[in-house]
């Protein structure tokens, strides 16, 4: 059916033209509107109620505090997008820090120790992914098992000790410098930005990312359209494992000491950030920008409530409420689009 409106310059018929979206809406997507609003409100409230919150130094501090759990949340996002969940991510990261630090102390040059640690985290991701795709076990169960095994492994490996790392590659991400002479930044922030942009690119601009969303949205539909769902799922767990390896590097940059008891709630914190960021626990919707905002919301809440002198228990109350609100919103949206 040819329409008279059609011309070579505008091949789309008027009836099926996509609506114009604002640049902001296109950048963050609708899913990220909620966490963005939450972040703005939190910043305004803390700026008005405390004297110490709204300044450049505290801004830098917030971003630094964001790095480790934020990075864990990036990997977690990949898995939740496929309708999975990763309870083991912080344990993978902690084991990574222990291995990197121990190897770096004694046997290997820092760069090599780092490489071994990151590869180990990636390999553990591959193991989880294989169990999920080959044995068709629920991700919750698989990663619960991996969490348990790795927590014990970390303790056995550390044998009651923690391992300090000396400077060099291993603390490189904690190294500070100043932008325009006054904005404090760390190398870790640069690495986080590269990771964020890289993952955003993969998820939104490549066919791999398409397949990840499709598998999370409806795995059987994805399979019937010829998507290799197993390979896609496995690649998600492998990539997430790699991201946890980077999180281990970030953690050593923040605190140059690998402690088997650190980040015990890192898994739940990362899930919290992802959920507040608007990524659906049912899979197929959400993404990296939302997670970055969600992790920032959690960090700002913690930081701001501390600055306001409020008991840290109230921080947990506040994040808890936010999580429930975010999931409730998700259900409503989901019901509308199904």
């Amino acid at each position: 059916m040819t329409t008279t409106h059609t011309s070579p310059a505008t091949p789309e018929a008027p009836a099926t033209r996509p609506p114009a979206k604002s640049l902001l809406a296109r950048l963050v997507g609708n899913a990220a509107a909620g966490p963005l609003a939450a972040l703005v409100i939190a910043v305004i409230v803390f700026a008005l109620t405390t004297d110490t919150f709204f300044n450049i130094d505290n801004g830098s501090l917030i971003v630094e505090q964001f790095l480790v759990v934020g990075t864990l949340a990036l990997g977690q996002t990949l898995i939740i997008l496929t309708a999975g969940i990763d309870l083991a991510n912080a344990a993978i990261m902690v084991l990574g820090t222990l291995v990197i630090a121990k190897l770096g102390q004694h046997s290997l040059p820092g760069g090599l120790a780092l490489l071994v640690g990151v590869l180990l985290c990636t390999a553990i991701g591959a193991v989880s992914g294989t169990l999920v795709t080959r044995l068709r076990l629920p991700p919750f169960i698989v990663t619960l098992g991996v969490l348990s095994v790795l927590t014990a492994t970390g303790q056995l490996f550390a044998n009651g000790e923690s391992f300090g790392v000396s400077s060099g590659v291993l603390t490189f991400l904690g190294k500070r410098s100043y932008l325009f002479g006054q904005i404090e930044v760390t190398n870790g922030m640069g690495v986080a930005i590269v990771l964020i942009v890289g993952l955003w690119f993969l998820l939104t601009q490549t066919s791999w990312g398409r397949n990840v969303y499709a598998v999370g949205d409806d795995e059987e539909a994805a399979r019937l359209t010829g998507i290799n769902t197993r390979r896609t799922l496995l690649s998600v767990y492998v990539l997430a494992g790699f991201v946890y390896g980077i999180a281990a590097w970030q953690a050593l940059g923040r605190i140059p000491n690998a402690d088997p008891n650190a980040f015990q709630t890192g898994n739940l914190d990362s899930i919290t950030a992802v959920v507040i960021g608007g990524t659906s626990l049912f899979g197929g919707r959400g993404g990296i920008p939302g997670t970055v905002l969600g992790a920032l919301v959690v960090t700002v809440l913690t930081n701001g409530l501390t600055q306001a002198g409020i008991d840290s228990l109230y921080q947990q109350v506040a994040t808890g409420i936010l999580v429930i609100v975010a999931v409730a919103v998700d259900r409503v949206v989901r019901r509308r689009a199904a």
């Binding site: 949205d217 359209t225 509308r336």
Partner: protein
Amino acid sequence: MNQPRSDAASAQAPAPHTADVVMSASGLVKRYGNVVAISESDFEIHAGEVLAVVGDNGAGKSSLIKALTGALVPDAGTIELDGRQIHFHGPRDARAAGIETVYQTLAVAPQMDIATNLFLGRPLRREGFLGSGLRMLDHKKMRTQAAEQLDRLGIATIQDITQLVGTLSGGQRQAVAVARAAMFGTRLIIMDEPTAALGVRESRQVLDLITRIRDRGVPVVLISHDMPQVFEIADRIHVHRLGRRVAVVSPRTCTMTEVVGLMTGALQMGADGTLLESTTQHMPDEKATSHRPPESPE
């Protein structure tokens, strides 16, 4: 296996020359535990035809076409495409061979937009290194082509191709799945109840589309419950019952009542292609199931 034979006096569809067979299957079996979804069924579609597949609910029609498109791997039997035996390991293989399917479940992703759904599993990539090296998607081209395609097919009043498929009506979703099949099917298009959720006007548009697809040389398998529809556009009718093909008839020499009779087992097709009253119609009987499909030599 299939020898040409002619029997002008019977209800049986005239068997065309073997060279015309696009896809065929014989002895297909698929079991789900104790349920036999496909029970030694045969299948055959010829060049340039619309083949209707009819049968009661649970007869195994969907399972049959899933076996043909790699969506399930049959326990036994052989499938041939253009005279060569094939083994599809998944839907991807069938799509690569130019076979497109509208599954009964539609196989659409509800939280993705229409344009994305049309290109699901076979996205358009950017030209040059961006596409081949970085595997970057060409979002714009996909949107443009999706809009063009939907307009050209004229099977849906869809205003915005960036609308999420989950927000569409059941009929619109079906239209998206049909459009996708029509867009990519070059060898064979299979539609499993594509008009089930459609209104009168939309059904008409899909039927017209099926005719157009056939006329441009791509055969179509149409699974449908709608007898008038089947009799209007099918060139041959494959009747499925209890997991197997029990007859292939021509809509020109056969009545709707007779086809329904074959579906329910009230009628059987004799070896000579004539229809007989079944005496044991209430039993899921040795007699009806041991009956060879008419095109196989006895």
